[in-house]
């Protein structure tokens, strides 16, 4: 067997966390450097992985298969074109979160870094796992560090938000566990690759799909179970919000592609209208809600729900464009939402207020900040030349192919998105400088500049050159759709 590159990718942050655990000092810089070092090494490994990755093969690569629960479950990890991008997103965003602790985290720095690193391990595990039980394990384990991040370092209502986050997600997930065990007894395996080959009997698919859906819908989050997200986002510290928006939400989208479509094609076909309706409600309703927000973080949180509505819509169009668009939209949202939360964090650290009304006229005191925020705002709107455009555009093409009406309604969401983002920008950056406290505000410092620029570059780069992303995912998505249609055609006569 080759060098277990994926396992080391998953384990490395935890090892870093273990090192930190044994350091006595809570607030030393050494701890931060250790964390930063581990996470950047992990980033380099994942980039190296991307080079090694062969985009012309539809098989899972770097597969590791070890006996774990004897005769029952194997520890199996591997990646295809879809998961590699999420892995890179994770390893890219985590170090930025670690850099951002400079200004945001005042107490228990060491514990915070440990939580972030452990979280990274779990998130990578989710995207690598090729066994349902392993997937569930990582998926659920992520709750522990996130609960602590919100609860210990969060804002005023942190306890309420942490509980809501934990219990909502747990409630959604337990049904998935029932489904996973049922799959084991129905087919005799929980190995995803084998399950793709065997397929699952039609009569079970609907219930299993719903069980998985309950978990992913909460995590995505889809309307009407999205209410935990604004609370969690608002109360979490900046780094926590960033991880939540950039990566945690993507786990669900990834789950939809990998498991809902891959394992239960017939049920996915049946429930597509349900997903369409929920996605459209999410896009329109949460955009309207976002318009009315006074709190910047809440506004971005609601915009996340709307963007994820696009993602679920794109996934369930089950067209090459739709799914590719969803994946790119998820990556783009990963960069953009992370950047926007960092931007809110920047002014929050200075003014200790998230209310839009506190600000106004920032452009004259923080010009650099204003420029970067403009880039991210436009990316969130989906201006051509940013990744946001590629994602939304492909999703809408996919939607038009599948259902005209759905696509038209979804397009309205794009307009609303432009409305609330630009209005936010206008209220925060332009206008009169009314608040006198703002006169003393400082522009971006070096670490903030670094964070925001390193997020702006991929947004623009992939916005102009999406081919690179496309190449990586194309074969995998194509394979997924072929498999899907094959199953559909095989069963349809029987069903009728």
């Amino acid at each position: 067997m080759d060098f277990p590159i994926l396992s080391s990718l998953i384990l490395l942050p935890s090892i870093g966390a273990l090192f930190l655990l044994f350091s006595k000092d809570q607030s030393s810089n050494t701890g931060k450097y250790v964390a930063l070092f581990t996470s950047y090494v992990n980033f380099l490994i994942s980039i190296y992985l991307w080079f090694l990755f062969d985009p012309n093969s539809s098989n899972f690569q770097f597969v590791e298969d070890r006996e774990w629960l004897k005769g029952f479950i194997n520890y199996k990890v591997g990646i295809d074109g879809i998961s590699i991008l999420f892995i890179i997103l994770t390893t890219f965003v985590t170090p930025l979160c670690i850099i951002s602790v400079n200004n945001t985290i005042k107490n228990r720095l060491r514990d915070f870094l440990i939580a972030i690193l452990v979280m990274e391990s779990f998130m990578l595990g989710v995207f690598c796992s090729l066994d349902l039980v392993i997937f569930y394990l990582f998926f659920e384990a992520g709750l522990i560090p996130m609960f602590l991040i919100i609860g210990i370092w969060g804002g005023a209502r942190r306890v309420y938000s942490a509980f809501k986050f934990f219990l909502y997600t747990l409630l959604g997930s337990v049904l998935m566990l029932v489904a996973i065990i049922s799959i084991y007894w129905i087919t005799g395996t929980t190995d995803v690759i084998k399950l793709y080959e065997i397929g699952i009997d039609y009569k079970y698919q609907n219930l299993l799909w719903l069980a998985f859906f309950s978990s992913f819908a909460v995590k995505t989050p889809m309307w009407p179970v999205h209410t935990w997200l604004p609370d969690a986002h608002v109360e979490a510290p900046t780094a926590g919000s960033v991880l939540l928006a950039a990566i945690l939400l993507k786990m669900a989208g990834y789950g939809f592609i990998r498991f809902s479509l891959g394992l239960f094609p017939l049920a996915s076909e049946t429930f597509t209208p349900l997903v369409y309706i929920l996605s459209l409600i999410a896009i329109i309703y949460t955009s309207l809600v976002a318009l009315m927000q006074e709190d910047m973080k809440k506004l971005i949180a609601y915009s996340s729900v709307a963007h994820m509505g696009f993602v679920t819509l794109g996934i369930f169009t089950i067209t090459q464009q739709g799914i590719e668009g969803s994946i790119i939209q998820m990556l783009s949202h990963g960069f953009v939402a992370a950047a926007l939360f960092f931007c809110v964090g920047v002014v929050y650290d200075r003014m200790h207020s998230r209310l839009i009304a506190t600000y106004g006229g920032l452009v004259s005191v923080m010009p650099k900040y204003a420029i970067l925020l403009m880039v991210f705002t436009l990316a969130a709107i989906g201006l051509p030349g940013t990744t946001g455009f590629i994602g939304e555009f492909l999703i809408l093409i996919g939607a038009f192919k599948d259902n005209f009406l759905v696509a038209v309604i979804a397009s309205l969401g794009v307009i609303l998105g432009a409305a609330y983002m630009l209005w936010l920008y206008r209220r925060v950056v332009f206008g009169e400088l009314v608040n006198n406290n703002l006169l003393k505000i400082k522009d971006l410092d070096n670490s903030e500049k670094f964070i925001l620029w390193s997020l702006a570059i991929p947004i623009l780069f992939f916005g102009f050159y999406p081919e690179l992303l496309n190449n990586t995912i194309e074969i995998s998505v194509n394979d997924l759709i072929e498999n899907y249609n094959f199953n559909l055609n095989m069963y349809t006569p029987e069903v009728k």
Binding site: F72, F138, L143, F147, I181, Y184
Partner: protein, 471 residues
């Protein structure tokens, strides 16, 4: 005479009880010595059982006593539990001035009773064992006799337990009357599901057993007794008798009454669901940690009973795995409880944990791990325990039980999170003492590490337990 070889552990422990009694009476100030001796004797007993080998399967004394893998495994659990209880409670007992020779001797007595219970293959032997362990437990519950609460809990336990023993005995006599035998194997031969009076007998026995294992709706004694007894005794209550009671549950259901599974399956499912839900809901409002642990243990018993419902070997094994992991988690939790001491005073409400993480990072981290594990969050050991249970339950397509069980884990997660919240999110209070005994530290560290690292070798425990085949 040959039979005696096999019950050497029981004989040894009886002799050591007598020896310790004599030692305690004739030698002044010997409580320290008796304590050490009893731990040593327990460990020797454990080794003797281990020597008997786990793969044995024989019945002794005309079939009234059975030594098989189930009994050996459970006895080892019981004895280890007893030994750990004795070793970590020394300091606590000394502080309350109840560090007496009677304490270890009573624990040994009740362990002897449990060993008889675990190995019984006959109604009478079973009842004798049960009474021996119960009598010792009554005294233990009221061991801190100067304290009103402790005496009260002992009395409560005695009255309710005697009632349940009465019901149980009545059930036994019904079974004997209608099957003509007290031996489990003979009962199973003469039993058929048409006989409704037999069902009465089964129900009475199950009621008695449910009381001993504190399953809802026969749980009322547990919170009061747990709260009132000295913490070291609560620790014993929460762990060791559960093992014996679970074994006898398994033995009863799967040896004499396996043919009438349709008669008792619904009862077990009901007991299990009621315990899971009630344990989760009732614990939410608790302020005292010991009471909370009582309700949480009711919930956990519900899960391990769920493993008995499907009527398969897998189910039994999952239940045994569950109780094993549950024991480890509880040792960890109680070790934390025994560490909450400031100026020679022990604290036991949830508020006393407030902001613990500021001054005691290691203690709070262990507690965090233990609590998340109790809540069943992966990748900790508690998740695997639940996972095995639900795996065996779903195998028999008992989806209702599985879904209710998993939903009640979400409710239960709430009160575990509440404790974590108090530890990590709330304002700090004064520091606690840190001069804990070595044993307490070892117990806490090892249980935490076992819970945390269980996922690396998850099949070791299952392999051991998979030797237990009852059906």
């Amino acid at each position: 005479m040959n039979n005696l070889n096999y019950i050497l552990p029981e004989i040894f422990i009886s002799l050591s009880i007598m020896f310790l009694l004599i030692l305690g009476v004739f030698k002044k100030k010997s409580s320290n010595l008796v304590h050490y001796f009893s731990i040593g004797f327990l460990l020797i007993t454990g080794i003797l059982i281990f020597n008997n080998s786990l793969d044995l399967n024989i019945t002794l004394f005309r079939g009234s006593y059975i030594i098989d893998s189930l009994s050996s495994y459970m006895k080892i659990l019981t004895i280890l539990g007893g030994a750990i209880v004795l070793s970590i409670s020394r300091k606590y007992l000394k502080l309350f001035k109840i560090f007496l020779i009677e304490y270890p001797i009573l624990i040994l007595c009740s362990i002897l009773g449990m060993m008889v219970m675990i190995s019984s293959n006959d109604l009478i032997v079973f009842y004798v064992g049960l009474e021996l362990q119960s009598l010792a437990l009554y005294v233990l519950a009221s061991f801190n006799r100067d304290q009103l609460k402790s005496s009260e809990s002992g009395l409560k336990y005695f009255v309710l337990s005697a009632l349940s023993s009465g019901l149980l005995l009545y059930g036994c006599s019904l079974i004997y009357g209608f099957s003509g035998s007290t031996n489990f194997n003979l009962i199973s031969q003469s039993i058929n599901s048409d006989n409704h009076f037999l069902t009465f007998g089964i129900v009475f026995i199950l009621v008695g057993l449910a009381f001993k294992i504190s399953a809802v709706p026969f749980h009322m004694w547990a919170p009061d007794v747990y709260e009132g007894s000295p913490t070291s005794v609560t620790l014993f209550f929460a762990i060791v008798p559960k093992v014996a009671a679970l074994t006898i549950f398994i033995r009863f259901l799967y040896v004499p009454f396996i043919n009438v599974i349709d008669q008792w399956q619904t009862i077990i499912v009901f007991l299990s669901i009621a315990s899971m839900i009630f344990g989760a809901v009732a614990a939410i409002g608790q302020k005292n940690l010991k009471r909370l642990i009582a309700y949480s243990s009711i919930g956990h018993i519900g899960y391990s009973l769920a493993g008995l419902a499907p009527g398969t070997n897998d189910g039994i094994q999952s239940s045994i795995v569950y109780i094993s992991i549950y024991i480890v988690m509880n040792f960890g939790l109680f070790s934390c409880l025994l560490m909450m001491k400031r100026n020679d005073k022990y604290f036991e409400t949830i508020d006393d944990l407030s902001g613990l993480s500021k001054h005691h990072p290691v203690l709070s981290l262990s507690m965090l791990i233990i609590l998340f594990s109790l809540a069943g969050i992966p990748p900790l050991a508690g998740f695997f325990a639940k996972f095995y249970i639900f795996k065996s339950v779903i195998e028999e397509s008992m989806y209702f039980l599985a879904i209710v069980g998993l939903l009640s884990t979400v409710i239960a997660a709430f009160y575990y999170l509440k404790i974590i919240k108090v530890i990590y999110f709330d304002e700090e209070k004064e520091k606690y003492d840190t001069d804990h005994s070595l044993w307490l530290k070892i117990s806490l560290t090892s249980s935490t590490l076992l819970i945390l690292l269980y996922f690396i070798f998850p099949s070791k425990l299952v392999e051991i337990v998979s030797r237990i085949n009852i059906i």
